[in-house]
């Protein structure tokens, strides 16, 4: 085992631990603001995974688009909701049923449980899906030995990654590229319309319309 192998092992281990640890923060943090900040760390970790995979363009895009735009958008959204809405409340039936002397012992578990519901179903579904995926991966690895066609990875000759990706988007993947831009446009216009102040309010008549029947 050479030194580069050890370095790759160590790098993968560190990046994977960082990613999974901050993902744990996302699913356990009680306040949504904290969960969003943990998500920021997770996205940095995923960017590190992309770098390990040799996808340098994706590494940059992950940081610019995900960390720089999507997370900031989520943080703005969390802050637009008022403060008591971002703090998930302890369910009332739990608060009343726990005796005072047990409160210290169960405090930590309750702290994490407070932001959740249907925990048993979530655990069963997530663990079951994980087992199924791992079984499938193991099966495929055992049968095909991952007929790895390019074991050395994306060591391709000529041009940079970004040049080849740009080429691919304007030739072979032109249609998905254009459709994605149309989807982006529609989504942004739709988001503006949905989030407008007077949308979704059906029961109240429009009182401030000039010339309406509500004028005195």
């Amino acid at each position: 085992m050479t030194a580069t192998d050890w370095l790759e092992q160590l790098g993968f281990l560190l990046v994977a631990l960082f990613t999974l640890g901050s993902a744990l923060g996302v699913i356990l943090a009680r306040r949504v603001l904290h969960a969003a900040l943990w998500l920021l760390h997770t996205l940095f970790g995923v960017a590190g995974v992309f770098a390990l995979l040799g996808a340098h363009v994706l590494f940059a895009m992950q940081i610019v688009v995900y960390v720089g735009a999507i997370t900031v958008l989520i943080l703005f959204g969390v802050m637009l909701l008022e403060d008591d809405a971002t703090r998930e409340k302890l369910p009332g039936f739990l608060r009343s049923r726990i005796p005072a002397r047990l409160r210290g012992a169960t405090n930590i578990a309750l702290h994490y449980y407070a932001g959740m519901q249907h925990v048993l179903g979530g655990v069963i579904a997530a663990a079951g899906l994980f087992v199924i995926i791992i079984a499938a991966v193991a099966e495929a690895a055992w049968f095909s030995q991952w007929r790895t066609l390019r074991p050395e990875g994306a060591q391709l000759v000529g041009g940079s990654d970004i040049q080849r990706i740009g080429e691919a988007f304007l030739t072979k993947y032109l249609l998905p590229f254009e459709v994605a831009s149309v989807v982006l446009l529609v989504a942004l216009v739709g988001a503006v319309i949905i989030a407008r102040r007077d949308s979704g309010r059906l029961e109240e008549p429009d009182t401030d319309r000039p010339g309406g029947d509500s004028a005195p």
């Binding site: 085992m1 092992q9 993968f12 994977a16 993902a23 996302v26 699913i27 949504v32 969960a35 969003a36 998500l39 996205l43 995923v46 995974v49 995979l53 040799g54 996808a55 363009v57 895009m61 999507i70 958008l73 989520i74 959204g77 909701l81 998930e88 932001g115 959740m116 519901q117 925990v119 179903g121 979530g122 655990v123 579904a125 997530a126 899906l129 994980f130 995926i133 791992i134 991952w146 790895t148 066609l149 990875g153 994306a154 990654d161 691919a168 988007f169 072979k172 993947y173 590229f177 994605a180 831009s181 989807v183 982006l184 989504a187 739709g190 988001a191 949905i194 989030a195 102040r197 949308s199």
Partner: protein
């Protein structure tokens, strides 16, 4: 002690873990924005899988070998759309109804 070299299986297992954590967040969180964060985790897990499979198993050369990366870029675009629309719906729901728990918004449930 010799560990196996970092290969496709490592990345697929990492993606599976991240996806299941995202699924857990989607199913259990009481706040709609936290559910959105879980969806982001799942999309990132899918991106890891796409890029890993494209790197290790792609039979192509040149521009075609980057199919997984191109696909991941499109997934990122759609994730941005999804976050914008989702946040708009959540803010609208909270402003008009005072609801942030997705389980409470069950008016259309049969």
């Amino acid at each position: 002690m010799t560990l196996p070299p970092v290969g496709l299986t490592h990345y697929l297992v990492l993606g599976a873990m991240l996806f299941c954590m995202g699924l857990f967040a989607v199913m259990t969180r009481r706040h709609a924005v936290a559910v959105l964060l879980g969806i982001e985790l799942m999309l990132n897990a899918a991106n890891i899988n796409l890029i890993a499979i494209s790197r290790f198993l792609s039979p192509h050369e040149g521009a075609l070998a980057l199919g997984g990366q191109a696909f991941a870029l499109i997934v990122m675009t759609l994730a941005a759309c999804e976050v914008a629309i989702g946040l708009a719906i959540i803010v609208c729901l909270y402003r008009n109804r005072g609801i942030v728990n997705p389980d409470e918004a069950a008016d259309m449930k049969w």
